[in-house]
Amino acid sequence: MSTERENILIRLQKIDRRWIYLVLWLVVMFPLIFPFKIKPKPTPPVEQLFNYIDTMPENKALAISVDFTPDTRAELQPMVVALLRHAFAIRRRVGILAISVYGLGLGEEAIQQVTGEFNAHARTHEDSVIYGEDYVFWGWTTPILTVMLGMGERITNVFPVDYYGNRTESLPIMKEIKNYDDIGILITVAASAIPRSWINYAQVQFGVNLSCGITAVSAADFYPYVNSGQFIGMLAGMKGAAEYEQLVRQRMEKNGMEWALRNRGTEAMSSQTAAHLAIMAFIVLGNIAYFATRRKRK
């Protein structure tokens, strides 16, 4: 090996990490400004969840538990938005709660966005998405054990007052959603081990159907629960959100809702791909440099 090449390889191993940050910054930024088209192909766990919700009996509601905090908003918020769009597109009732107090604002943000989209296109009262009839935001309470076990008995006992301060007993939707028996599936969108608690308490005790939307970093931990059937499908990270967005977009188009809505997960996929390629290149380069100089040292 020539000395010049050897020097490059040694320098490569000692490169200041800030150069790597700069390259990543550029690699992520450019595809956001000049995106190239990527259409995520739904994976089996995403399809499984979509098909389950899509064919859920009309009298069953969809419950979404916003169990994440603002730091993971980029990955998980697109999931909540896509799930809400799906439920409203097929006219299923929705109940939303938050296990984390920081999830309240995120839940509210997603509700405002999606109900705004649907109501902006509504022509009749029936087309509209109405609070207290089509959806309810139960809000937050603590401790989680009380919430998960209590909702199996009577939801209005756990959340006597909703997020907006209304008595839940007074909402028409709560006559249809009394406890887990009226919930077709509960989806926990989380950045922690909370989905495991939902299994341990709500599913073991009451047999409620569960699924989860989780950050990519936790995905490997939750695949066993999909394999065992404890979760009906799963959305893993921003890619999972993007896949679900595609399925929902197709469903909405089929239902005549061609609204050209923003899909934040899908929009991020070109940056995600570019960043992954860059990181793979870094790993390969780093390994080449390491092994080449190690052989020399020996």
């Binding site: 908003r73 980029a74 309240l104 970093v217 394999n227 065992s228 990270g237 921003m238 992954h276």
Partner: protein
């Protein structure tokens, strides 16, 4: 470029850049943003606990004339036990903190252990059992066999009660391979997660703040 005129967007953008400045090196802007985040997050949570839990569940009920005296005594007793958490700040009586901790631990363990055994062990074990239904398609059958082998090999790697000889030796080595594949998958997902968070912030900076993307 279509710069935002919303002052809150500007505040969020400046704080985001202050946090990112740590990537260059430690600096006072990063420290300010970090402390602000911790303070605001705690303040937000405390406010909610006060207004959504303590006021309606304790103060309102204890203050209401309609609440029976026995319920009031019960609520006050529970509140006093809960307040014992604060004795941590008084060294002389800090041992009292063990009382609420013991109650919470006892309750949570009692509620969790039987359910966790069911959900985490029995149902997971069931999922590894191969039946005729596992071979609904040849791919499903193949994955079922791989999962079974992976579980046995990985468990055998953590079996330390005997020397790794005979069949246990190759099995535990196979366990290492499965564990490494698991670590690889976790690392790949971790990269995706971190990049996703960065994308989210850049979407905000380039879109909501600078108006460079729609």
């Amino acid at each position: 470029m279509n710069l935002s005129t919303d002052p809150w967007v500007w505040i969020a953008a400046i704080l985001t850049l202050a946090i990112f400045s740590f990537l260059y090196k430690e600096n006072p802007f990063y420290r300010i943003a970090e402390h602000l985040y911790v303070g605001i997050a705690n303040g937000y949570a405390i406010t909610f606990y006060w207004h959504r839990i303590l006021v309606p569940s304790l103060f309102d009920r204890v203050g209401a004339a309609a609440t029976p005296v026995s319920t009031k005594i019960y609520l006050i007793a529970i509140a006093i036990i809960g307040a014992l958490y604060f004795t941590r700040f008084i060294p002389r009586i800090s041992w009292l903190v063990r009382i609420p901790i013991a109650i919470v631990l006892g309750y949570a363990s009692g509620a969790s252990i039987p359910r966790a055994i069911d959900a985490e062990i029995i149902r997971q074990l069931k999922a590894t059992i191969i039946t005729r239904a596992s071979f609904a398609s040849w791919q499903a059958g193949l994955w079922a066999v791989i999962i079974l082998l992976g579980v046995i090999a990985t468990i055998s790697y953590f079996f330390f009660s005997t020397e790794r000889r005979g069949a246990l030796k190759p099995l535990s080595y196979a366990g290492i391979i499965f564990i490494m594949i698991g670590f690889g998958a976790s690392f790949g997902y971790t990269v995706m997660a971190r990049i996703s968070l960065f994308i989210g912030r850049l979407q905000f900076l380039l879109g909501d703040w600078l108006g460079l993307i729609k």
